[in-house]
């Protein structure tokens, strides 16, 4: 499997060349174009965790994601994958692939809209970061990425990396993904709640530990509110 990132940085698209009997997993709706013989299949993936508590967590978190699998079959083929909004795509190696690419290979926690695609060795699970992520006002569920392979992350705006050693603060709307070696708490940005709210910085994520953060330059929720609130009202 080979891939290329084209039209960077604002309209990035991933061009994937598949050898025979290869496959790639992508967010549903990401397919732009593909060879005619590729087989596509879309499934609804639900979060793990049984029992009442697991079910309750899933319900609260609304965890579900549609993923499409593209298979090449007997002959090679290619496809183009694009995220929905304007912005960039980057690739991150997971497991030994990550180490080979010069990274840590650590598993990732990815914001649900930050996931674009992954190679078959990568395990995509619906993670649950607890109710704290619900109160952060951002995307409610997270994807837990582990295994071995390459994952493609998409951002609204440009994407940039931060090496954290100790602690670091990120506005909740600017996080794309973080390495599992990091833990976070949702907290207020200012000294007091009044400060935090008046300052427009509402809630932030405070990361602890040693690892890498993937951030986006623009906040999709803020953009949506800015533009959407000025559109004509829709019927209920």
């Amino acid at each position: 499997m080979e891939f290329d990132l084209l039209k960077r940085p604002d309209s990035t698209v991933v061009h994937v060349s598949l050898s025979p009997h290869e496959e790639i997993l992508a967010e549903a709706g990401a397919m732009v174009a593909m060879s005619g013989h590729l087989q596509a299949e879309t499934t609804l993936r639900k979060g793990k965790g049984g029992g009442i508590l697991g079910g309750l967590k899933r319900m609260l978190a609304g965890e579900s994601i549609f993923l499409s699998t593209f298979r090449s079959g007997n002959s090679p083929g290619d496809l183009y994958l694009a995220p929905k909004l304007m912005g960039d795509v980057c690739h991150v190696g997971i497991g030994s692939t990550g180490s080979a690419l010069g990274g840590s290979g650590s598993g990732l926690v990815v914001q649900s809209t930050g996931y674009l695609a992954s190679t078959p060795g990568v395990v995509v699970d619906l993670g649950f970061q607890g109710l704290k992520s619900f109160f952060s006002g951002e995307s409610i569920f997270w994807l837990d990425i582990s295994g071995d392979g390459v994952v493609f992350l998409s951002s609204f705006g440009a994407i940039y990396e931060i090496e954290v050693d100790g602690s670091y603060v990120v506005d909740t709307g600017h996080i794309v993904a973080f390495e599992k070696t990091l833990t976070f708490t949702v907290t207020k940005a200012g000294g007091s709640w009044l400060n935090a709210i008046l300052g427009g910085e509402g809630l932030v994520m405070r990361f602890q530990g040693h690892g890498k953060l993937y951030c986006q330059t623009h906040n999709a929720g803020a953009f949506g509110q800015l533009v959407g609130s000025q559109l004509p009202a829709r019927e209920a």
Partner: protein, 249 residues
């Protein structure tokens, strides 16, 4: 020394097209797309090809009028920008084949190029896309635009493109619109434009141009942020549920 006749700047995000006109030379431009020009250039708005063709273009999503810009007496420069930020691509018609363009994609052409609409009928791009394509025939340069970057895909054999991502294609290709069950989200999600698994299957030899983003995705994204008209408590409660539901998509 050859003088460049056109230049595309700021692609793929904010592409603008600069046209160098020789004295007396004319360019046909999408109405309203002119951004700046030398003062020697004059504008004549007209329904190219008469009323019927003009009406046809309007149905195709383009405006009824095309603007003709002519450099009077001396050479001049014309700067053309499409309405939607994105990319611009150039194509030269040699008379042997025509080019089909997604209805809102036309930017500019030489007057030797004829632009018509082609009704797609039931075969058309009914996935929320326009039912019309523009057909460019004749000879000469033509420029078309997209939302997002434009990629040229040479097709040999069989290639599938999501209908929302088609910008243009050569008519040497056979095409048919079909639904790929494996991509369909119908019944799973509602209120989403596209995502219904409609694709265009191209067969034969020729080129297809695809865009790397589609406007509908941005519209779908903004939809839940729109204010909601609430008439009574029941419907507003329902809309709150819908609003919450939109987060779970």
């Amino acid at each position: 020394m050859t003088v460049e006749t056109y230049r595309i700047d700021h692609a793929p995000a904010y592409a603008g097209l600069t046209l160098q006109l020789k004295a007396g030379e004319t360019m046909v431009v999408e109405s309203g797309a002119m951004a700046t020009m030398d003062s020697c250039i004059t504008l004549k708005s007209k329904m190219k090809g008469g009323l019927l063709q003009g009406l046809g273009r309007m149905l195709g999503g383009e405006s009824l009028f095309l603007s003709e810009f002519t450099a009077e007496g001396r050479p001049g420069q014309l700067y053309v920008c499409p309405g939607v930020p994105g990319d611009i691509e150039h194509y030269c018609l040699d008379g042997s084949r025509s080019l089909l363009i997604q209805s809102s994609g036309f930017v500019a052409a030489r007057p030797t190029v004829t632009i018509d609409t082609q009704f797609q009928g039931m075969k058309g791009f009914f996935s929320g896309e326009s039912l019309f394509l523009l057909r460019a025939t004749g000879t000469g340069d033509i420029w078309f635009s997209s939302f997002g970057g434009i990629l040229e895909v040479p097709v040999t054999g069989d290639y599938v493109v999501d209908t929302g991502y088609i910008v243009a294609f050569e008519d040497s290709l056979n095409y048919s619109v079909e639904m790929l069950g494996g991509l369909s989200l119908q019944g799973l999600r509602t209120g989403i434009l596209g995502g219904d698994g409609l694709v265009c299957r191209f067969r034969g030899q020729g080129k297809v141009w695809i865009q790397t983003r589609r406007l509908h995705n941005l519209i779908n994204f903004l939809e839940p942020f729109r204010p909601v008209k609430s008439s009574d408590s029941l419907t507003s409660g329902f809309s709150l549920l819908k609003f919450l539901g939109s987060f779970f998509r």
